[in-house]
């Protein structure tokens, strides 16, 4: 077995734009399931609607591409009816936290044994660049032409507060760390939530002075603050520099979980 076996080769080429970060995340995930020796016929990928949610269509397992925002309740049905399946959800920031926000907090509360990977491009990609609950303050989108004036969600804090066992954030720049986080999350009983900031040059970068892929990736790298470093700054009473976001393992605990394999 190799990573290639996990791809539906007959579905390529994919629909992602040139420079999109989603492919990196799919590859990281498939390398993780392959390295764990998971079986294709015991693994189910589930998604909602959006660019990121197209991922299961390129993966060779049984897969469920559902309705916008509802990946988690569909996945909950699969996992509760047959706990022996490994269930992995791909979702976008809009899919997960706008239309699917209620399902997100309840899946975390149940701490159901699935792994949720959110490709957060901070925008609605599929529908052409409208603002999402994760669009940063001031950022331009087709529905925030004068700059986003609402506060964004911190998805990881939300998942932690709602009860998920494992919560981590990385970016498409941090491929190695991301692969480790996913590998860990897949094995962890309970809900594992991995947020990955990904570049969307077409719909986010273009409107926000990040014209090329390289400058988007550099911006993510430069603004990522390791959790350990953040904790040190806090302990020393020093300020967190403006515009930074925290990356790393943010929550790792062993609360009782639902739907765990017998």
């Amino acid at each position: 077995m190799s990573v290639e076996d996990w791809y539906r080769v007959d579905r390529l080429p994919h629909i992602f734009c040139a420079g999109c970060g989603n492919g990196t995340i799919i590859n990281c995930t498939l390398e993780a399931v392959e390295s764990l020796g998971w079986k294709i016929d015991e693994t189910i990928f589930v998604s909602g609607i959006g660019c990121s949610s197209r991922a299961p269509g390129y993966i060779s397992t049984d897969s469920l591409h559902t309705t916008h925002g509802r990946a988690l309740p569909f996945a909950t049905g699969v996992k509760m009816a047959k706990p022996n399946f490994n269930v992995v959800v791909f979702t976008g920031d809009g899919d997960l936290s706008a239309i699917g926000g209620n399902h997100f907090i309840h899946a975390c509360r149940r701490n159901i044994d699935i792994t949720v990977i959110c490709m957060n491009n901070q925008i609605y990609g599929m529908t052409g660049g409208q603002g999402s609950p994760c669009t940063p303050k001031g950022a331009l989108s087709t529905t925030t032409p004068y700059g986003m004036d609402e506060n964004p969600f911190d998805l990881c804090e939300l998942a932690t507060a709602a009860g998920a066992n494992y919560v981590a954030r990385w970016t498409s720049y941090h491929v190695k760390e991301l692969n480790q986080a996913i590998t860990f999350g897949l094995q962890k009983p309970g809900l594992s939530f991995i947020e990955v900031l990904v570049q969307c040059p077409t719909n986010y970068g273009r409107r926000n002075k990040l014209r090329d892929v390289q400058s988007m990736i550099s911006a993510m790298k430069d603004h990522a603050l390791l959790k350990e470093k953040r904790d040190r700054l806090l302990a020393e009473g020093k300020p967190i520099p403006d515009g930074m976001f925290v990356v790393g393992t943010l929550t790792d605990r062993n609360r009782p979980a639902l739907g765990v394999k017998q």
Binding site: T61, R70, P73, T76, A81
Partner: protein
């Protein structure tokens, strides 16, 4: 036994082993009973965060090859609509119990109605077809729940039990058969694609975990299951097949009672109003009106109407403003007179007789 409990018993007897739902009057006893019974037979009950999630969860459950069901009433039924369309389009066998109450909106939580009959048929966007059953006794709530699972599996559609508060909360004697017939969906045949129809227009089922590696999507898809949403001919062919697979079986699966086929004045009813018609007939043995009681309303068995060769007029008592009367009128030249009753109470038999006498 109460109707809603009989429904849950029917589901368990039919082999339903996954239930996801959200409490709503007057259907909650179905969920409560499933919560009690399922763990004892190795099944799983889960209370979801809303009805959108409930419908999603049973579709997920169904794709694992487990018979799956939810139960709700008006407001919850409305919330389920998007995922009901998903189930129809992805050919997911599942059962939805709707213990109807007075609407629109929150309406009359504790009173009966039949106001969701067209919603059951047309409520989600786009064209598709489904199966809807209508019990008029507690025994039928048991029997038709079993039948609903078999039909859902056979045609790979969402099947609706369109009951109402009257039957759901009625207490009547129920006889449980020693064994009920459970017919699983036909498996896919060697060499066939997951969404490639057989002669009956229904593809063989490919539940998860059996090596089919099926991709299930609500996008327009080809027979492999892969998205192909910009091919006009493919889309038309797929939608036509999904409608046709159910519609062309409408006479074969029709389930009904006929009284006095030679009558000139004929009642047509389904669900609770059937009880009022039967009582009216008992009250006036000298009259020989006709009666068609439908246990399956969708697909609508239009040819049955022709069995009433001498019919001059059809009277249709419904607990809505004439939803199925409108369907009947599409198929006959004779006048179809709706006898609507809103407010939650059943038609008074004497009133039905008066309506019929006016036509004599």
């Amino acid at each position: 036994m109460q109707g809603n409990d009989a429904c849950a018993e029917g589901a368990i007897a039919a082999g339903c082993r996954f239930f996801a739902g959200y409490p709503i009057t007057p259907s909650s006893e179905v969920a409560e009973q499933m919560a009690r019974k399922l763990p004892k037979v190795g099944g799983t009950f889960i209370q979801m965060e809303d009805e959108i999630a409930s419908m999603a969860a049973i579709i997920g459950g169904a794709w694992t090859g487990v018979r799956s069901m939810t139960a709700t009433s008006g407001p919850g039924f409305s919330l389920m609509m998007e995922n009901i369309g998903y189930a129809a389009f992805t050919e997911t066998p599942c059962v939805i119990i709707n213990i109807q109450r007075g609407g629109p909106s929150t309406g009359q939580p504790t009173m009966a109605a039949q106001g969701d009959m067209l919603q059951a048929r047309f409520g989600s966007h786009g064209d598709y077809s489904v199966i809807a059953l209508a019990p008029s006794t507690v025994q039928e709530l048991f029997d038709l729940t079993v039948k609903g699972f078999n039909l859902a599996d056979r045609f790979r559609v969402p099947a609706f039990l369109m009951s109402d508060e009257i039957i759901g909360h009625l207490r009547e004697r129920v006889e449980f058969p020693d064994e009920v017939e459970c017919i699983p969906p036909k498996p896919i045949r060697e060499g066939m694609l997951p969404f490639e129809p057989e002669d009956d227009l229904v593809p063989g089922f490919t539940p998860f975990g059996k090596g089919h590696r099926v991709h299930v999507t609500g996008l327009t898809h080809n027979e492999k299951g892969y998205p192909a949403s910009t091919d006009p001919d493919l889309h038309e062919k797929l939608v036509m097949r999904l409608v046709e697979k159910v519609e062309r079986a409408r006479h074969e699966i029709a389930d009904y009672d006929i009284v006095n086929p030679d009558a000139e004045i004929v009642f047509i009813s389904y669900g609770a109003p059937t009880r009022a018609v039967r009582q009216a007939f008992l009250d006036a043995p000298e009259k020989s009106y006709g009666h068609l009681n439908l246990r399956i309303v969708w697909p609508f068995p239009e040819d049955l109407l022709k069995k009433f060769k001498n019919a001059r007029v059809f009277l249709v008592p419904e607990m809505n403003l004439g939803q199925i009367a409108r369907e009947i009128q599409r198929h006959v030249d004779q006048p179809v007179i709706p006898i609507p009753r809103l407010g939650g109470e059943l038609h008074i038999p004497a009133y039905l007789l008066k309506c019929a006498e006016e036509q004599e």
